[in-house]
Symmetry: D4
Subunit: 248 residues, 8 copies
């Protein structure tokens, strides 16, 4: 399917032959000043490269966004600032920015979404990370449902909403502080649970280490953990599991 | 009441005048070879000194057990080995030993128990620490009820048993690995919860650090934490809260 | 008693029927944008939800304060900024702010206080955390006495004030740096001691880790520890122990 | 399908009505001495409970193995010792033991395997953990292929074997020391990669912390991490992803 | 050769006799206010002292730069700010500043470069540290080639450029996050690899600890590690190895 | 001698009778708003209380400085800011401020200094901490000599200055980064060495942990360590050792 | 005086000329197989080398003991085992062994002791480390007094014994677990306090880290800390301070 | 040269054609049970694979030793036990074992050694690691000189032996505890210094972490660090630097 998309864009004149050749090679690389864009990634792994915006120089960010948009007809950036949004909007006016998740994107029109990924959080402070995960999973083609603020200090809020997990291919559980939500959920559902510790908390939460350890030591099954605050990684992985589950 | 007990023992001839005087002084001390027994503690804090048996020399352990038994008519030891039990049994034949909790004790006859303390565990491997807590709380005069193996990987096991928490003055929640049980319980009950992390687990549980951090970062209310594997400390604290709640 | 309060507020027309029903259910939840207020908590645990203000968006903070005030006739917020106080004061003019403890509150008129909780600190830099604990315990219905700046570098300052602990149901000991105060106090009193490590210190205090470890390893009895700088948690727990001790 | 299996076993007389009822309830529990077997797990999550053998008392281990075998017609234990194998063999002579992975099992006859999970390791010292993962995934119904000793000090060993990843639904990458293998693999394949850090190494490997951090910080996509040496967890998760991918 | 240079500068009148004497003594020291310039270092170790600019007072920085330039006919500073550059430019107009690497230098005219050092990075965010290493190695007399953005998430970018390592006397591998690049390279080349962990990353990268541990635990040969972000140290060491390899 | 000083100040009318009584009692305390000044300390320990200025409120700082000056005829403050200096100067015009060490003081006229304390540093960045130590030791009555910038990268700078240690009663060795200076010095001199780790460094210096561990693990004799950046503590201890050595 | 002792031993024929020459040189070294005995240390630092016995090979240990005894007429070893004692006793029958402190020694007859060093401990488990400190300080020429088992859980045991600190030149405070004793003592006495953390404790004591941090963060004056369990280092330092205080 | 050696062995009939082909390919691999011997390494990197013996199964160890010996005419194993030596001696009677360094080897006859590598240690307890480094460097073709027991508590032992560093191409500095030796040496010599922290020490040495951090934070130039106790890695790297320096 990825090959199909690339060929279609080439056929419609949206893609140069040179770029198409590189994209159709699993190890295609596009040399830029100081960077080597891994444009074979879509062919090799199913998702194009996503731009980690934080700390990128202005001119370089703009160049990458424009090139990736040209190649794929869409582009996604994470950890972007409002200033970066203002910068890019001048040349790419259709670009969209969500301040809470710090996501910057141009999405291909009429994108098809399949399956179901659930993103849940323990508290309201975990929402920025959760929305990053949700935005990424949607961009990668998954239907996403959200269930926020259902942490263990009032666990009935989770139990009243168990229906949401039906038919989910994957759950992303986002929590800081003691991070217990992921274990609870993983004990209740039958699909994989991706645990995302957040840096929410203070004192002995150690910027997310407490939640990270809780999740790694979960005695529930079917759970694995990503880096602290790594909503992006959870979103990509969830959308891949979702795709494998629902695409056929 | 503690003063009352001391006077009764003195009146009945079970206690010498010299010892009684020291015990009735908040800062009474009994000099032994290399040690200074804090025998004013019962007057000052309501509980006599408890013997931490691990690593004590044989002759010294025996001497302390005999003296404390003489003073109080009962004596409690924690972290004892079977060898220490064999040793003490020769001179104190009424002594009792529980291998799972490593508790060694001679309990005063017809001890009155009041109130209710609940001790619950996440898994079966947490039981030795939980039993230490339970034995200590009972020795200090509390009624104790136990609810073991109700961890979050099958949380319905806890929900099916919520009745046990009715009228409890205090809950001791014992858990290793991810340690989430304490938070769940503290979100459900209205009395204080004492969280005891255990060193049960492997890898990133770091011998109880993971569970300790989980408990310290709990977003539930009315919860405080003791040292890893410190069933003893939880038992004493719970029995004190229980006494304050039910004695009047 | 909590049920009583809710019914009285309903009877007096201060509470809608719909809200009263939810509050009288242990698992009552009030759905707000992105948040699920746990309004059954008062029924379930005896204390209403308290607002952690730090980082909350303005409009959301205002909405929650107004709703909780409407439901309970009082409301408490922790870790608030002066800006948040200015914001809320416009719509809730009776709101009070204490800059040192960062507490924001509207307290029900003529609140009854019972029993006695003592809050003591090692140094003057620990006072903000201590005052958070004191304010919370008072709001939850306890009489509170304070003893500040009695740390171990001049331990006579503590010994000259031992009378303050008489009849206390609970002591909150707040200390940073080496955190030894909690152990000293717990060796002197007969009620529970809640130890609160603070992030006061520099170098090898590691933002409170040193004091936290000191407290967890205390060789005194009847002591348990909460998270670094968690005056709030200590205050709630102390007021609950105080209530159990003095309410009957 | 799980319900189907339970009914079939009941119909054939292999399962009592009482047990079948519990197994068909998502929150079915079987009370044993000190333990509460979560026998609703198969219905709820698709896999029956697996026995963590290490540290279990002899009589208790035997009782659980017999009961689980009775209920499910098969049973799996991890981290078992040779002594435990000898013990169980007396009463369950069909039991099998693999010393390298410490797996103890009775497998249902004619089990069907589907899909494909690849388990690869960096070195030969990682094989015990990798085999635990492989045995568990196979027991849970996946076809498993192995690729051992392909770590980054001689990376051509991996590149010569890339074909093995074709059609895999999931890769389990097992590595200690610097743990770089998981990142490399995740950059090459398009399915999810479950990273398992091992405690193999010395000095600054800190019993697996180094490999754990490497994996959590991977800049590749579609990767998540489990606890150090947790081959079991990786095996269950992989078989679930495999089932979702291939079952329909 | 170093002695040769010093004598030449003395002979040409660029160096006072007093300074030349000190420089020709391995333990020559130049006393300045609060500092003791180690000007025997060039004789003793082959490289003159380099100025760590960060945090130096303005007048002191200027004095040191001028003195070292006077002594050696060239001078190098690391971790300099733009403000420091502006300051020094007034009195030393020939000074050059590279903002990305924060290097400030006056280089002797017609410097001879020998051999070959390769500096490679995993990502673009590692470039500032890599450029510091490259600038230093060049200043110390090595030819330097650069290969940036060849990290393991798209490892073909490295494999397409293996030619660059031919004839290198030393490779400097710079990487943050999971830091795997250094191991890969060390498994492919036959010369020493100096691994430089960077503080690039977030969450469990712990400001470079993850990459540092990865590199220390590398199972490849011929690799050693320097401090996090220590491009300077890597550059000096590489140029020394390069000199030993190519000078004779 | 301390008693002598107090009596003299009282006799000369510089001290009220009430204050003199308290100062002559080892447990004298002066109650201020929220603070309890330990004014018996001079009698008890030989040095009056020193003010830790950082973070103190303006009005409170002023009140303490004035009171301590009144009591002792001199006063010392550490970690003061320039703003605090401006504030105090208005009411205490004779106050002196050293910006590098952040020391604020009014020193009694014609103070006698005895003995000899040497303060040495590894680098120039360690000077602020070293000067804090030196200022404190001088204020407490010691002669102080300084030897800065003699770290191990050019160890001849230390060896050329060994004479400075003759007749010293104590050496304070201040070093960040690898902190090796303290060990070297302690292997060369015969008096006590107080090691002060500083937070100077980057990367794996972890804000002084590296230097702290180096010093704690020193294989030299007659060395002990204080907290990171704790020049004050080193200065007090050194002046006490110096006094014991030279006073008789 | 050290020179005096060496000359006397030479004059009496107890020392060869060759050895005397080396001992009278501050940098005298005695080459042995694989070791270089630093026999100038007595001249340079006032104390001869002490043997760290743990892990030394039998023949090597014997050789060193005999040589040091020959040179100094006395010899001291720390961390010795009973087996090592048996071994040495054969050739050096006058050797003495104290099992609790693991000290092995031959002491010069009629050694003069001066001044006073106090060694105190928090608990009985800290005694082995305390006795190592005491034995070393006595061997180095100090009078030593001991005060054991006076920890903060019964602080009156310390207050009843404050007289012991009169005229002490130095206090060694030894404590594990929460380690608060050192701070308390340092707030009460006017001489230097050397704090020795011990590895006594469990759980979050982390083998002495908790006590170490407590001591480093002490808010008392005149205190410095040595490595965990380093009774030896404390003993040497205390005897040096004692010597400086009382020798003149 | 490596190719030369391989061809010579083939020509002389010591090597089969099949094996020679693989060895002459940089990515030659020899498939064994569960392992993939990287036999192209000699061609690719100049050194054949070395066997890490610890934990290897007997039959597997024997097979690998025999095969590597057959291919290369020599073989080296590290971290071997005496039992493994006994095992291998039966079939490879010419094998040699050094118990102190745990090295097991058969060395090619008449091996040529070039250049000079110096291995020095701080104490005698560091010798096992130092000898591992020395043995490996010699096996790889370097002349090695040793300088043991020259740590910083008696630094004159190092200064008396500076001549040993003349003409060295590389110094390996091995130290535990505070690890300062490496910095001192690196400040004195002009060749690269490879720092090897050892796990020698106790308490706050944390099994080598203290020495590791000291070395990483060294303010000397031309130094890089390997893993704790990694004598092997230091030896290989040193011999490579030595070869580059002296081979031409």
């Amino acid at each position: 399917m990825n090959i199909d998309e690339i060929l279609t864009r080439f056929e419609m004149g949206n893609l140069s032959k040179e770029d198409a050749v590189k994209m159709l090679s699993a190890d295609g690389t596009l040399e830029m000043a100081y960077a080597k864009l891994d444009i074979g990634r879509k062919k090799r792994q199913g998702f194009p490269e996503v731009v980690y915006c934080s700390g990128k120089k202005d001119d370089y960010l703009l160049e990458i966004f424009k090139k990736l948009y040209e190649l794929n007809g869409e582009v996604l950036g994470t950890r972007a600032s409002k200033e970066q949004y203002e910068l890019l909007k001048n040349e790419l006016p259709q670009i969209q920015f969500d301040e809470e998740s710090s996501i910057l994107k141009i999405e291909a029109p009429e994108k098809k979404h399949i399956g179901k990924v659930v993103v849940c959080t323990a508290g309201t402070a975990d929402i920025p990370v959760a929305k990053e995960a949700a935005e990424v999973a949607e961009f990668m083609g998954a239907n996403v449902e959200k269930l926020f603020d259902v942490g263990v200090s009032g666990i009935h809020r989770l139990f009243h909403n168990l229906d949401i997990f039906n038919d989910a291919s994957c759950v992303i559980a986002v929590a800081g502080m003691e991070g217990a939500l992921a274990s609870i959920v993983a004990g209740l559902v039958s699909c994989p649970v991706i645990a995302v510790p957040t840096s929410v908390g203070y004192g002995a939460s150690f910027n997310g280490i407490s939640a990270l350890l809780t999740m790694l030591n979960s005695c529930a099954n079917c759970i694995a953990t990503v880096n602290i605050d790594n909503g992006y990684g959870a979103g990509v992985l969830a959308s891949q599991i979702n795709r494998q589950t629902y695409e056929k």
